[in-house]
């Protein structure tokens, strides 16, 4: 049951890619016109975060396996890239026990991110060989264990990570444009994978347990590939992220982000790259809105007390409602596709008149 590349699927994926790229570019253009520092920050961080949601979607959406551990690679990517690119003067002071090579190098952001991506891939390969052999129910826990293991290591390996104190003075290189390029590349990879023969294979196993069984032991390398690819992109996202905020600590890569990203995928549609992006928007908006009640507000003369947990409560309820009413999410498994050729044809007709 070996399918090859399908021209139709590739064309469809290309159209989706173009559509998404156009849409996202538009967002960045509008943001740059508005020219506000806070908006620039928001857009950059949104684009980078969304890149990671797409990375997450690459695994969960295609394989159908719930993973609680992809965020571990966000952490690995972020720390790797940061350690590679923090200026040596800072590293001498903050991380004296770091191996000399690391301490004295500063590779520049791009190389740092590339190495971070590769490193994430290696780690994912090692762990993935174990995980992809497990049965589906155990995989969820194994990925959860992965998250806890990585967090524990990062939190306690003070010589390398400064533990709870976190890293600082990472060159803040990411701009909305760079983030946009990153996301466009990542979305392209995701869409390409979704349409590829190996992607289709794992989607087949997702749909039908019998199909999964007929794949038999061939399922393992397919799952492994999916896992490693997703982890690498996640690591890339982490690397970008590290270069967008100057300083961070281990608390970032744990439950909260796992929860947020799963929410984004579920609400937007697990099986769709557009869904991951759409979900990212929805959850970001809801979170921002709910931040007000969480901090307590004053409406006129009425003081509304702080509603602790308002943000997470709303998002969690949103997940439940989505799962009960529309489990496939906003987009289902469909991608955004502007009918470009149609538009061009219509345009041609008008020009000829």
């Amino acid at each position: 049951m070996i399918t090859g590349w399908s021209r139709r699927r590739l064309a469809s994926a290309a159209r989706s890619w173009l559509s998404l790229s156009v849409l996202l570019t538009l967002v960045v253009v509008i943001a740059s016109i508005l020219d506000s520092k806070s908006i620039t920050l928001i857009v950059t961080s949104f684009l980078i975060y969304t890149s990671m949601v797409v990375a997450y979607q690459m695994f969960m959406g295609n394989s159908g396996v719930v993973s609680f551990g992809q965020v571990a690679f966000f952490g690995i990517g972020a720390y790797s890239a940061a350690l590679l690119n923090i200026p040596p003067e800072i590293k001498e002071v903050a991380l004296p026990s770091l191996p000399t090579i690391l301490r004295q190098t500063q590779t520049g952001a791009l190389l740092a991110i590339v190495i971070a991506t590769a490193f994430s891939g290696v780690v994912a390969l090692l762990i993935g060989t174990v995980i992809s052999r497990m049965r589906e129910d155990a995989m969820g826990i194994a990925t959860f264990a992965l998250l806890v293991i990585v967090y524990t290591i990062i939190h306690n390996w003070g010589e390398v990570t400064r533990g709870g104190l976190g890293l600082y003075d990472i060159p803040k290189v990411m701009t909305p444009v760079y983030a946009l390029i990153g996301l466009i590349i990542i979305a392209g990879v995701a869409l390409l994978y979704k349409a590829s023969p190996i992607g289709l294979r794992i989607q087949g196993a997702r749909e039908d347990a019998l199909a999964a069984q007929s794949l038999g032991s061939h399922l393992v390398p397919v799952r492994l590939f999916c896992f490693v690819l997703s982890a690498m992109v996640m690591g890339a996202g982490g690397g970008m992220w590290a270069h967008s905020i100057r300083a961070f600590g281990p608390a970032s890569f744990f439950f909260r982000d796992t929860f947020n990203m799963i929410a984004m995928m579920v609400i937007g549609g697990q099986a769709s790259v557009t869904g991951a992006i759409a979900g990212s928007v929805v959850v970001a908006v809801v979170s921002e809105l709910m931040r007000f009640p969480e901090k307590g507000m004053v409406i006129g003369t009425i003081q509304i007390p702080k509603i602790y947990g308002a943000v997470q409560l709303s998002v969690a309820l949103l997940i439940l409602v989505t799962l009960i009413l529309r489990p496939s999410g906003i987009m289902g498994s469909k991608e955004l596709e502007f009918p470009f050729s149609q538009c061009i044809r219509n345009l041609n007709k008008r020009i000829r008149k």
């Binding site: 129910d137 969820g140 306690n156 997470q312 409560l313 009960i324 489990p327």
Partner: protein, 293 residues
């Protein structure tokens, strides 16, 4: 390591292991009927803890009453979560149910933050749990003994329930073959609610012991209990109650003896070691340790 030290650590390991076993079995009961690992199970520990805290620290209600109330509360919340989240999703896929149990877990944590208190709190533990009992040259903590006794009693009662009562038999049958259980007349909704009730009860007892052991509560305190319960189940073999018990015990041994033998620099990494060891076990035996299935 002296013989005394080894023996003391052994008792600690069995005691902690029995607590983990209790938590793991609770999870396994729901897994049996729904075939999904309920993330929110760990948060029932938090529910128990907060009820105990409210009554004992804030309300000056006697500790035993607070414990009972905590256990009842955990049971009630468990039944409620089934009604609200799992029942509407009865026909859903495994992945959907797992994610929704995750969402429920977050909801419970945040409801605690919202309705009770968002900050971690300390609990004053009655001195009876703090005593040291000397047998010859061996010194054993009363907490270890109490934990062991209560966990074992709870599991023994569970065994009695499962083996000797009509509902227990129905629960076992439903875990083996839910559809055929329905065909012989077992009411689907009620048996699932029962599973959640039993599970909640066990989580409540385990939760009370956990809180007494750690002396504090926090909204996110359910994280480690659920990890232990998850891992205990997976090591022992999903779907096996005995496996869950064995898995929990093994985990207890790992935790105590790793802590005892690791150099102090490596101590913070105990969790990571344990979990890595688990993952390695699973590589060689993905179906878990138990021989059946």
């Amino acid at each position: 390591m002296t013989a005394e030290l080894f023996f003391q650590q052994l008792i600690n390991a069995i005691s902690l292991g029995s607590l983990y076993a209790l938590l793991a079995v609770g999870l396994a009961i729901v897994y049996g009927v729904l075939k999904v690992l309920n993330f929110a199970h760990g948060d029932l520990v938090a529910v128990t803890g907060y009820i105990m805290w409210l009554l004992w620290m804030k309300g000056e209600i006697p500790f035993p009453v607070a414990i009972v109330a905590g256990i009842v509360g955990a049971t009630g919340v468990s039944i409620l979560t089934e009604l609200v989240a799992f029942r509407p999703l009865r026909k859903a896929t495994y992945a959907v149910m797992l994610i929704s149990s995750f969402a429920i877990s977050i909801i419970i944590q945040n409801l605690i933050r919202l309705l009770i208190d968002p900050r971690p709190q300390g609990m004053r533990i009655p001195p009876v749990f703090d005593k040291v009992i000397s047998i010859g040259s061996f010194r054993i903590g009363s907490l270890a003994i109490i934990t062991l006794v209560i966990s074992l009693t709870a599991m023994a009662l569970l065994l009695y329930f499962l083996l000797r009562t009509r509902w227990g038999m129905a629960l076992r049958a439903a875990a083996v073959d839910f559809e055929v259980a329905r065909l012989v007349g077992v009411p689907a909704n009620r048996i699932i609610s029962l599973a959640f009730a039993v599970s909640g009860l066990l989580a409540g007892i385990g939760g009370a012991l956990w809180v007494i052991r750690t002396g504090g509560i926090a909204p996110t305190m359910g994280l480690y209990p659920i990890i232990k319960a998850f891992v205990g189940n997976v090591i022992g073999g999903l779907g096996s109650l005995v496996g869950a018990v064995v898995g929990g015990l093994i985990l207890g041994f790992f935790d105590i003896f790793l802590k005892a033998f690791l150099p102090s620099g490596a101590r913070p990494f105990v969790e990571a070691f344990t979990l890595t060891a688990v993952v390695i076990i699973l590589y060689f035996r993905p179906q878990g340790i138990m021989l059946k299935r």
